[in-house]
Subunit: 294 residues, 2 copies
């Protein structure tokens, strides 16, 4: 273990995760605290800084990366409005954290950070696309080793691909977004119990759970196939809470994609779980800080 | 006008277009001949070479680019199966043309060539996505000045994005691809007369033509919005025969996209006609040869 070190923080709606990596991208230490929705942005930034300082101890990090729920402004200087954090409107996180930590700070969308973390942790590829399957569906894209955020900084909004103009209403105001049909929330809504209970019931042979999960995974495969028809990445990572369901989910999604994409196109495409689990966000944020700030 | 010169050829189902550019990407001369479906690959390559030699005259080109209907193998050494050219299965076009012309030859998907041509002809951008609206719907993507063909060489198959799992059957075997709902062929099928006649009838106030065109353009906007949610390009070009309909088409597609994408995302995105018209394919092929072979 030798310097330089990098601090990564993943600001989630439920928990704040943080950790430090060394210069070779190896995680050294990490911890998490509850986000606590009652705290406003200033107090939360105080708590994130305290957590970071505690993890660093005597080791001073060279830079800090923070993953936050979007959308962000194009220059990544502020959160425009954090969906799951009440009162977080136009918050200048990087300058606020830089003042508190006394080091360069970079901010990026949380799913983008997870994509960059998984890109670094996996075998080399030209293009990685990550889906986070949780309360919503997020996405991140890495092309030639760099995060791809597109013209307006909002590329990879993979949850808002419309698959059915007559489909269920999405939080974004549209109908038939994949987020409204295949997120953990959508599965829970259709089944009447949390998504992990639906998968547990599927394992017990419950036909209603099977119907709900078959349908969600078929739709998810359709969204992945549509994305393949645009980008043809070589690595597709399904991450986030619902991806923990493992084989029953992956088998179904892969089968749905296979039905919809020219066979020749699938030879070079892997659809796989993440390797970093719930640590992808903070690790990716730390590595993105290393990439961009040093 | 000074050397080096570049020869570009666009092998279409109906016509073969070819031309030469100078080293500054300025078109110097061009011509076209009918494709004539009765000729096989060998005879057609003879005719393409003859056309190229006629255009070059005493000017020897440094390299030749050929745009062909896909799908191609990953290394661009052969056409796997040209959809609109009978009997063109596993044809090694670059080696065949190199033998005939005595110069380096590069082959690429026709819509990819058109995308590269429009990229070079327009104002600078980070990412351009081109749709060709014709018999089918093709696509091409340029990222940071290079064609993006993805892991398996088939990125930008934008016509086969599924928008409605219960939609009309597509030539690819799937249901509800945008090609089956918004290509010139789809509009002609829905209206009962060729697409340009539907647009002419729309101008005369025909309510049935309006319904057909409203619907096709709404769907096309949905496909464009889905692509934006993945890539967020800064320039989107609608090209091909049906894009010649102009304002009635562009106004409707833009309105459909505007309904479906976060407003902040649209600030940096232009949706516009091509600047090269029917010459985009051969010009793009010539410029891609310049890019890759010199």
């Amino acid at each position: 273990m030798s310097g330089p070190f990098f601090l990564g923080i993943d600001l989630g709606g439920t928990r704040i995760k943080a950790g430090i990596c060394d210069g070779k991208a190896r995680p050294i230490d990490h911890a998490s605290i509850p986000t606590d929705a009652d705290h406003g942005p200033e107090e939360t930034m105080n708590r994130m800084a305290e957590l970071g300082r505690r993890l660093m101890g005597a080791r001073k990090a060279a830079a800090c990366g923070i993953g936050v729920p979007g959308p962000l402004d194009l220059d990544r200087r502020m959160i425009l409005r954090a969906t799951n954090l009440k009162g977080w409107i136009k918050v200048r996180v990087p300058s606020g954290m830089k003042r508190r930590l006394g080091m360069p700070v970079i901010m990026e969308n949380d799913a983008n950070c997870a994509a960059f973390g998984e890109y670094q942790a996996g075998s080399p590829c030209d293009c990685l696309v990550l889906y986070t399957l949780g309360t919503g569906i997020g996405g991140g894209i890495v092309i030639h080793g760099k995060l791809w955020v597109g013209a307006s900084g909002a590329a990879g909004e993979l949850g808002h691909m419309t698959l059915d103009p007559r489909g269920p209403k999405c939080g974004c105001g549209q109908r038939g977004c994949i987020e409204a049909m295949a997120s953990a929330t959508a599965v829970a809504r259709a089944y009447g119990l949390p998504a992990h209970e639906a998968f547990a019931a599927l394992r017990r042979g419950d036909p209603r759970a099977k119907r709900v999960i078959d349908d969600a995974c078929d739709k998810l495969g359709m969204a992945v196939a549509n994305m393949i028809h645009v980008l043809h990445p070589d690595r597709i990572v399904l991450a986030g809470g619902m991806a923990a369901a493992g084989k029953p989910l992956f088998d179904r999604v892969r089968a749905s994609v296979r039905k919809r994409v020219f066979p020749v196109c699938l030879e070079k495409i892997r659809i796989e779980p993440g390797r970093l689990g719930g640590d992808a966000g903070w690790i990716g944020a730390a590595l993105w800080a290393r990439e961009k700030l040093t």
